[in-house]
Structure formats: structure tokens, C-alpha cells
């Protein structure tokens, strides 16, 4: 028994890195990044300091993403805000993605926000993005305030209006309130990282 306890006590002292890393943690500064979008324009997190930044991990080939774009969830949420206060950035960490694919998809779905190209998966893994869609809301000071799903309707069959967590978080930040739901379980396809 005694040795068991010392073993447990030792294990407490083990570095916590042994646990799966959750990199973009709510309440902690968001990992910095600089990525080119589908048109070759660079975007860095630092340049948007002072604005609320929404990151949306995306993959046009994923049925969950398709469902939300068909239902205009992302487009409507993004265009509902003053662009001088809220920046919406889609990020595609799919290994097989290319800028022209993103451009074609943008045209097809008719949205204006950039699709950042992360085929190496570096930024995706820094953020710990696991699903498409996987959403992050970062406040004007660069601190992550929301991480998780876009809404509470994983199957797309909820009766009534689903709760849009991202909208809830951004609205709260704009009015200086606490984010009502700061984390949720993301759902969707796995991010197709380069392996």
C-alpha cells in the first residue's frame, strides 16, 4: 500500500505534458500564427489585435462542413458582424488541400472570408483542432474565449433552433459580458492532417 501511494505521489510530479496536449485553451493566449489565404495574402493573428477573431477549421469535403454551408450557418454568422470589430478566418488543415480548391469552393458557396492554407497541419495541431468544423473565438487581447463546436446540433436533426455557441460567444464579448458557454465538444469529421 505504502509503495502504491508513493508511486501515485510520484506520478503527480510527472510533467503534465504526458497528457494529450490541448494547445488552444480557453482563458489562455491563443497560439500566434501567420498563414497565407487562398489568394496568397498573408494573415497573422497579431495584425488583428484589438478585434475579435473567429477561427473555423474547415474542409469542403466533409459532410458536416457541407451541411453547415448548405444551411448557411457559417456565412450567416460571419456576415452578421461589423467587420471592423470581428474577423472571421476559415483554416483548412487538410493535407490534400490546395489554394485553388479553396477558391473554387468560396465561389460555389459565395462567402467573403479568407480560407487560410495550412496543409502542413502545423497551425491546426498548435490549436489542437480535431474536427471540421472546430471553432475558436479569440478576444481583442488575443485570449481564447471559446473552443468547440459551432452549435449543439451534431446530427443536424434538432427540432427548433440550435444554439449557436460561436454567435453566443462573440455577442457576449462585444457587449462586455462573460461568454455563456466557453467550451463544448466539437463534432464532425476528423481533420485530415498530413501524416
Amino acid at each position: 500500500m505504502k509503495s502504491l501511494f508513493s508511486a501515485v505521489a510520484l506520478s503527480v510530479l510527472l510533467p503534465l505534458s504526458a497528457l494529450a496536449a490541448d494547445s488552444a485553451q480557453v482563458g489562455k493566449p491563443a497560439p500566434a500564427f501567420t498563414l497565407k489565404d487562398e489568394a496568397g495574402k498573408e494573415h497573422s493573428l497579431a495584425q488583428y489585435k484589438g478585434k475579435i477573431v473567429v477561427l473555423e477549421w474547415t474542409n469542403p469535403g466533409c459532410p458536416f462542413v457541407q451541411r453547415h454551408y448548405t444551411a448557411n450557418t457559417m456565412q450567416k454568422t460571419a456576415s452578421g458582424y461589423d467587420a471592423s470589430k470581428v474577423v472571421w478566418l476559415a483554416v483548412d488543415s487538410t493535407a490534400s488541400n490546395a489554394p485553388d480548391k479553396s477558391a473554387a469552393w468560396k465561389k460555389e458557396k459565395g462567402f467573403a472570408f479568407p480560407v487560410l492554407q495550412d496543409p502542413s497541419g502545423k497551425v491546426g495541431k498548435e490549436y489542437g483542432a480535431r474536427t471540421t468544423p472546430h471553432m475558436y473565438v479569440i478576444d481583442d487581447k488575443g485570449v481564447v474565449r471559446y473552443a468547440g463546436a459551432i452549435d449543439d446540433d451534431a446530427r443536424g436533426n434538432k427540432t427548433g433552433t440550435p444554439t449557436n455557441y460561436v454567435k453566443g460567444a462573440v455577442d457576449a464579448l462585444l457587449s462586455g459580458k462573460d461568454v455563456p458557454t466557453a467550451t463544448s465538444e466539437p463534432y464532425g469529421c476528423s481533420v485530415k492532417y498530413k501524416s
Binding site: M1, A7, D22, K125, T183, C189, S190
Partner: protein
């Protein structure tokens, strides 16, 4: 997305087979392919379906009221998978919804899932490849006639690299007949699937237990612990990689088990908590596969209590520190016990009030009664001044104590209520004051400015200084007694900002002073007291003996601190003090150089006596004085809990009179001891007579800063000790013990 696939069955055999059903009395051994409506494929991948679902039953005919099994078999293309009820990092839980009029269907039984990882290991999911039967127990209603219509809507996500959602609706009719006939072709598939469904440990003759490192989980933090599995035969099979799959639990973000090397059945638990406090206390939920491919598998479903999740303070989450760093800017935040400052101040005031009734304050209370009968004869203004002086004495000394606490805290010492009694020199000083005081009451010498006063006088020393002194004395004697509520308030104060500490102590002082002030200041009360007279002189002397009694207790405390030698030294010092007091009494009436010489002699004598006698060494830790008790340690608690015993922990100290009172009147009473024996209670004593950082930390964990504290831990809720009232009663304690062990009786075996 569905595309029913019509299966052509060979020949027209179905027609005459149906008629044959009535002739069959034994389980049918005839293979009947499922009807076309019971088969569908989904997950179309560029025209190729990647998943085929079939609705199956393990009977071909059912008798009304009988049970049977129904399920959906999913067949995936090689490389494709669907998900378990917790999909893991991504994906979507598979879902089967039933529509079965005339049949009740129970919860879905999920076979042990596989752990699937992306090649880079970044994303882990749980699910099924190849083939899986998600099934449930069903019962035909007693009124069933003709055929039962069974229909299932399956909603699954089929993934290889890309994911294809598939929703299929399957249906079939099940004939109702006089006998239930097994389906020889499909029953084995159900048997095989059910063999892989995890069962509760006790069904497999195991007991599972979870010991968490710590009493609670802080939000946004990590936690660790140990899960142990014990087999009825003392053996636990080895496990393979990916043997454990966690369920999704509200309030938790991560649960993982790793086997401890060389200890089959012992697993290290690591977990992470979510940022928000969940509505219900999270439990440890997950499935575990014991055994290896060579030995065969046995899956268990674990459901073990964890601990409540508490909001982590804004600092680092995790282990509570005995004393938090001072919070700048005065009032600190409420501590883990969720108290607001206002409530704490109310507690402090009430606690101070109750302190008057605690056993260790009794001598002071007696003194007060005496001092106050003395003041009754005086006019109101004087009385008010005395009340003020007494209150001032109390608050002044409490503030001194608070500042000491703050000073010690700033120096990095964890201190608690009554800590001053862990210092032998302090105890000796208090004892000396008491002896001197009692000699003063006996009339050996007088205190005060009036040197010409005669001893026969009722009391020459009714100066305000005396009232102040009484206030100080009240505090000095009261500190070791944590009255109910006071422990909480002081515990809170000691971990808060400086302003909070001071404010709490002031309110406590007001509470302590209130009864005396009321007695003195309310005119009606003053009239009811006996008139001053010759009896007062005797009463005064009697009180001197009360003080000597208190001294005896202090000497005994000293024994606990410093052993027999220390007691002897203390007594020697007290004798010197008494001699000094007597000498002072001799020279008191004289004037000029003779008095000066006398006073100097007394000071020198007492000083020398102190230097000569007060050299203490720590006594060796003694065995606890309560019978059948053993010393407290986390290991002892865990050992007892593992043996299924409730554990009672007595946090006590020799200088704590409340503790001693409880021990004598409750803990050592025959009824309580019999109850402890009956319920196999392990009695552990945490003795705080001398400083002990472990005990201080444990007290702080429960928001206390002093003893007594009584914890009762039930083996069925090892992480939720019950904190009992500081004033124990026999009945209350016996009830609590019964609860703690009774919960074991009706709880699942752990």
C-alpha cells in the same frame, strides 16, 4: 442517402416455409434470410456503399410476454468504421432509434469498441471496423397478436479518411405464436456480440475501486488517482494496449488509465476537468477489456464515484495550500467553501458569542461574573467605562493575535487557530499569569495603583486596567477552543487578505465581549445580581481555585508538548512565580528604596527562574490516548477504506478543551464505542498538539484553521468525507456512523 437493396432469395421457398412454422415446436434450425425491408446500405462513396445495415432478431417467432433480442448489424467495407457511443476526438456517435409498437426495447448494448488513431496519432476515436451488432433486449407485450412490427432508424457516420453520414430505416415483421422459436442462424451472432458487451465488475466477480489524489477536482485542471481491480480469486488478467475506453462525462475533458508495471489490476488514472462546474458531480465512466488475444477477453463497464468539481481559484488550480498568500487590497475572495465575506463576519460574531459557553472559557466567565458583581455598585458611567475597557482588552489582544498570524504567514509559516498553544513558552507564560492571578485573588498581593489598600477590602484593584487585563485573559484562554462556526470563520480569515483577517478578529472579539457588556450595561440585569458583601471575598478566593484548575490543564498540555521533564520544569517555574508574587505582596505596602529593592528582587527571581527552568525539548510522540485508536495518515485511511471500513478521524490537540470534552463525554462513551465496533469503524487520531504541517494542510482543505474537526469517511464515498459538528453528541455521532456504513450496505460493492 439510403438505397434499399433487394436481395433475391433462392427459389420460392419462403411461401411454404411460412406455413411450416406452426409445425415446429423446437427451435427452428432453418435459415431464413432477412426480408428486403430489413436490409439497407448507406455511406455512398462515389456510388459505392461503404456500409450495409441489417435488422435482425434472435427468434423467428415470439410468444406474447416473452423476451427476445433485436439489433442492427452494421457491415463496413474494409478500412471503414462507424463510431461508439463516445466517438472520441472527432466523428459522431452511432445511434439506433426504435419504433416497435407492441414491443418494449431496452437500452442499446454496445460491444467493446476498438481504439482508432490517425497515422500521426493526433486524433483518437473509438468505434467499430468490419462488423458490429448493436442490439438490445426486447419484450413482446402480453397482448401481442398476429405479427409485431419492428422498425429501426440507424444514424451513423461511416469514415475511412473521409466521412459519409448514413441514415437508414429498417423494418421487419415478427410473427407472434404459441411458442418462442429461436433463430438458429442469427442467435449465435447475438451471443457473440453480447459476449463482447462490457459487464459490471461484480457480474464478472471483480470489485473495482477508485482512490483519487485529493478531495475535489478543480475546474480547468488535471487530476490523478488509482483504479484498482480485485478478482474474487485474487487474480486479474493482464491487459493489452488500448484496453480502456472512456465515456464522455460532463465536466471532464479527458480520462485515461495506464496499467502499473508489475501490479496486475492496478491502474494509474489521469484526467482533466472542463472549465465549467457541471450540474451533476462527474463519475468515472468507461469500459475496460481484460485479457489478451491469447487468453481471450472479458470486458468490464466501470462506473465509480470521483469527487465534486469546484471552481478553481483564479490562481493555479489544484492542490489547496494550507495558507494562501496574502491577497493584496484587503478582502480576499471567498474560499472554496463558497462563503461570502458578510457571512463569515456573521459567523465570526456568533462564534465569539458562543465562545463564552465553551469549556475553556469558563474560568474567565466566572471571573467576569465576579468582576461584574464588583462593578454593580458603581455608577453607570464607570460601568460603561469598564465594559469598554474589557471589550478593548479583548479586541486589542485579538488584533495582536491577528497581526502575529499575518506576520507568521508573511514569513511563510502555516498557522492555525490555537497555534500559540503549540509553543511551550507561551503555555508557560499563560500558566504563570494564571498562578499569579489566582494568588492575587487569594489576597497574597494586590494589583493596582493603590498601594495602601488593605487585603481585607473587598477589592482594592478595580481600576480600568483590570478590566482590560480580564479581556486579554479571556482571549488567551479562549483561543484553543474553536467554537462551532468559529473554525469556519477563522479558517476563512486566515486564508484571506489582511483586512479580512483583522475585521474577522474584531467581530469575534465583539461577540466574545457582548454577554459581559450586556450584563453590565442593561440596568434591569444589574438589579438582579446579589448585593456585594462579605461573601464576595470568599467567592473571589473560590475563583482563584478555578484558575488553578485551569493551570493544571495547562501543565498537562505542557506534558504533551515537552514530556514529563517539561511538566516538572513548568511546575518549578510556577513555584518561582508564586514565590515572587508572595515577595511582592510583602513589599507592596512599603515605600521608597525598600519597595524598589523588593520589586527588583522579584523581577530578578522570576527572570532567573524562567531562564533556569524553561528549557524544553520536544517529547517523543506518544500513542494516542483514545483506546482502539491509531495515528492518522492518508495511508491508514486508504487501508481502512479498502477493507470496506468507515473511517472516523479525530483532529485533536491536548490544549483544546472542546476536543477533550468531546473525547471524554462522547468518543469514549460505551454506546459510541459499541457503535464503532459494530460498524467496524477505523478510529484515527490526528494529534495537532505539536505543529504538524500535514494536519494543518488537512484542516485547511476543509476550510478550518483549528481543532476540533471530525471527519467521517464512508467506503462508498471515499472522496466525500462528512464533516461532523464540532460539538459532538452521542446520538448524532452514532447516526452518522450508521449512515456511513449503511451507505455501504445499499451501495453497489465497490
Amino acid at each position: 442517402m439510403t438505397r434499399p437493396r433487394v436481395r433475391r432469395t433462392g427459389g420460392g421457398g419462403l411461401f411454404w416455409l411460412a406455413g411450416l412454422g406452426a409445425w415446429l415446436t423446437a427451435a427452428s434450425a432453418l435459415a431464413v434470410p432477412p426480408p428486403a425491408s430489413a436490409v439497407a446500405s448507406g455511406g455512398l462513396d462515389e456510388g459505392v456503399p461503404r456500409m450495409e445495415a441489417t435488422l435482425l432478431t434472435d427468434v423467428t417467432q415470439v410468444k406474447p410476454g416473452d423476451t427476445f433480442r433485436v439489433g442492427v448489424r452494421f457491415k463496413m467495407h474494409p478500412g471503414w468504421h462507424i463510431y461508439w457511443k463516445n466517438p472520441g476526438d472527432s466523428g459522431l456517435a452511432s445511434d439506433v432509434a426504435w419504433d416497435t409498437p407492441g414491443t418494449t426495447v431496452e437500452a442499446l448494448r454496445w460491444p467493446m469498441p476498438a481504439t482508432l488513431r490517425t497515422p500521426d496519432g493526433f486524433i483518437t476515436t473509438y468505434g467499430y471496423e468490419g462488423e458490429v451488432l448493436l442490439s438490445a433486449q426486447a419484450r413482446a407485450s402480453e397482448q401481442a397478436q398476429g405479427v409485431l412490427h419492428l422498425s429501426a432508424a440507424a444514424d451513423v457516420l461511416v469514415c475511412e479518411v473521409n466521412c459519409l453520414p448514413a441514415q437508414v430505416v429498417l423494418s421487419r415483421a415478427l410473427p407472434v405464436g404459441p411458442e418462442t422459436l429461436g433463430d438458429a442462424e442469427h442467435a449465435p451472432a447475438f451471443d457473440a456480440a453480447w459476449a463482447q458487451v462490457p459487464v459490471a465488475p461484480e457480474q464478472a466477480r471483480y470489485t473495482a475501486a477508485l482512490a483519487l489524489d485529493g478531495p475535489s477536482l478543480a475546474t480547468g485542471g488535471t487530476f490523478t488517482g488509482t483504479v484498482t481491480l480485485t478478482g474474487a480469486d485474487g487474480k486479474v488478467p493482464a491487459v493489452e494496449k488500448d484496453f480502456f475506453v472512456p465515456e464522455r462525462v460532463k465536466g471532464l475533458r479527458h480520462l485515461a488509465l495506464t496499467p502499473v508495471e508489475g501490479k496486475p489490476g492496478t491502474f494509474k488514472l489521469e484526467g482533466k476537468t472542463a472549465l465549467e462546474v457541471p450540474a451533476v458531480e462527474p463519475r468515472f465512466l468507461g469500459v475496460m477489456r481484460l485479457g489478451t488475444a491469447a487468453s481471450g477477453y472479458q470486458s468490464l463497464s466501470l462506473d465509480l464515484p470521483l469527487a465534486p468539481v469546484v471552481k478553481a481559484p483564479s490562481g493555479a488550480p489544484g492542490v489547496p495550500t494550507p495558507v494562501a498568500a496574502p491577497v493584496p487590497g484587503g478582502a480576499g475572495p471567498a474560499d472554496a467553501s463558497g462563503l461570502s465575506l458578510g457571512l463569515v463576519l456573521v459567523f465570526a460574531f456568533l462564534g465569539g458569542l458562543l465562545l463564552n459557553l465553551m469549556p475553556c472559557v469558563f474560568p474567565v466567565l466566572a471571573l467576569k461574573a465576579y468582576g461584574f458583581t464588583r462593578t454593580v455598585g458603581e455608577e453607570r458611567g464607570r460601568v460603561g467605562a469598564h465594559a469598554l475597557a474589557y471589550t478593548g482588552g479583548i479586541i486589542g489582544s485579538l488584533l495582536a493575535l491577528a497581526l502575529t498570524v499575518l506576520g507568521l504567514r508573511a514569513a511563510g509559516h502555516g498557522v492555525g487557530w490555537g497555534f500559540q498553544f503549540q509553543e511551550p513558552l507561551f503555555v508557560a507564560a499563560v500558566a504563570a499569569v494564571l498562578v499569579a492571578f489566582s494568588l492575587n485573588l487569594f489576597g497574597v498581593f494586590n494589583v493596582g495603583t493603590d498601594g495602601t489598600a488593605l487585603v481585607e477590602k473587598v477589592d482594592a484593584s478595580h481600576g480600568l486596567g483590570r478590566s482590560v487585563g480580564e479581556g486579554v485573559l479571556a482571549v488567551v484562554l479562549a483561543t484553543p477552543c474553536s467554537a462551532p462556526l468559529l473554525g469556519t470563520a477563522v479558517g476563512f480569515a486566515l486564508t484571506s487578505g489582511a483586512a479580512t483577517v483583522l475585521l474577522t478578529f474584531v467581530l469575534m472579539g465583539l461577540g466574545l465581549a457582548l454577554p459581559f457588556c450586556l450584563l453590565v450595561l442593561v440596568p434591569g440585569l444589574a438589579q438582579r445580581l446579589p448585593r456585594p458583601g462579605a461573601w464576595m471575598e470568599r467567592f473571589k478566593q473560590l475563583l482563584g481555585f478555578a484558575l488553578l484548575g485551569t493551570t493544571v490543564w495547562l501543565v498537562w498540555v505542557m506534558g504533551g508538548l515537552t514530556g514529563v521533564d517539561g511538566m516538572a520544569r513548568t511546575l518549578a517555574f510556577l513555584a518561582v512565580v508564586a514565590l515572587g508574587a508572595w515577595l511582592y505582596g510583602l513589599v507592596q505596602g512599603s515605600t521608597g528604596p525598600r519597595k524598589l529593592v523588593g520589586v527588583l528582587t522579584v523581577v530578578a527571581l522570576v527572570g532567573a527562574g524562567a531562564l533556569w527552568s524553561l528549557r524544553f525539548e520536544e517529547a517523543h510522540a506518544q500513542a494516542p490516548r483514545v483506546s482502539e485508536a491509531q495515528a492518522w495518515s492518508d495511508e491508514a485511511v486508504a487501508t481502512a477504506l479498502a477493507a470496506g471500513q468507515p473511517v472516523f478521524i479525530d483532529f485533536t490537540a491536548d490544549w483544546c478543551l472542546t476536543c477533550k470534552f468531546n473525547e471524554r463525554t462522547v468518543l469514549q462513551s460505551d454506546d459510541v464505542r459499541a457503535a464503532f465496533a459494530r460498524h467496524r469503524v477505523a478510529f484515527l487520531v490526528a494529534d495537532w498538539t505539536r505543529r504538524d504541517a500535514r494536519i494543518s494542510a488537512k484542516l485547511a482543505e476543509f476550510g478550518r484553521a483549528g481543532v476540533p474537526m471530525y471527519l467521517l469517511v464512508s467506503p462508498s464515498a471515499p472522496n466525500k468525507p462528512e464533516v461532523l459538528n464540532e460539538l459532538l453528541t452521542q446520538d448524532g455521532l452514532i447516526d452518522a456512523v450508521r449512515r456511513a456504513s449503511g451507505r455501504v450496505a445499499d451501495a453497489r460493492p465497490l
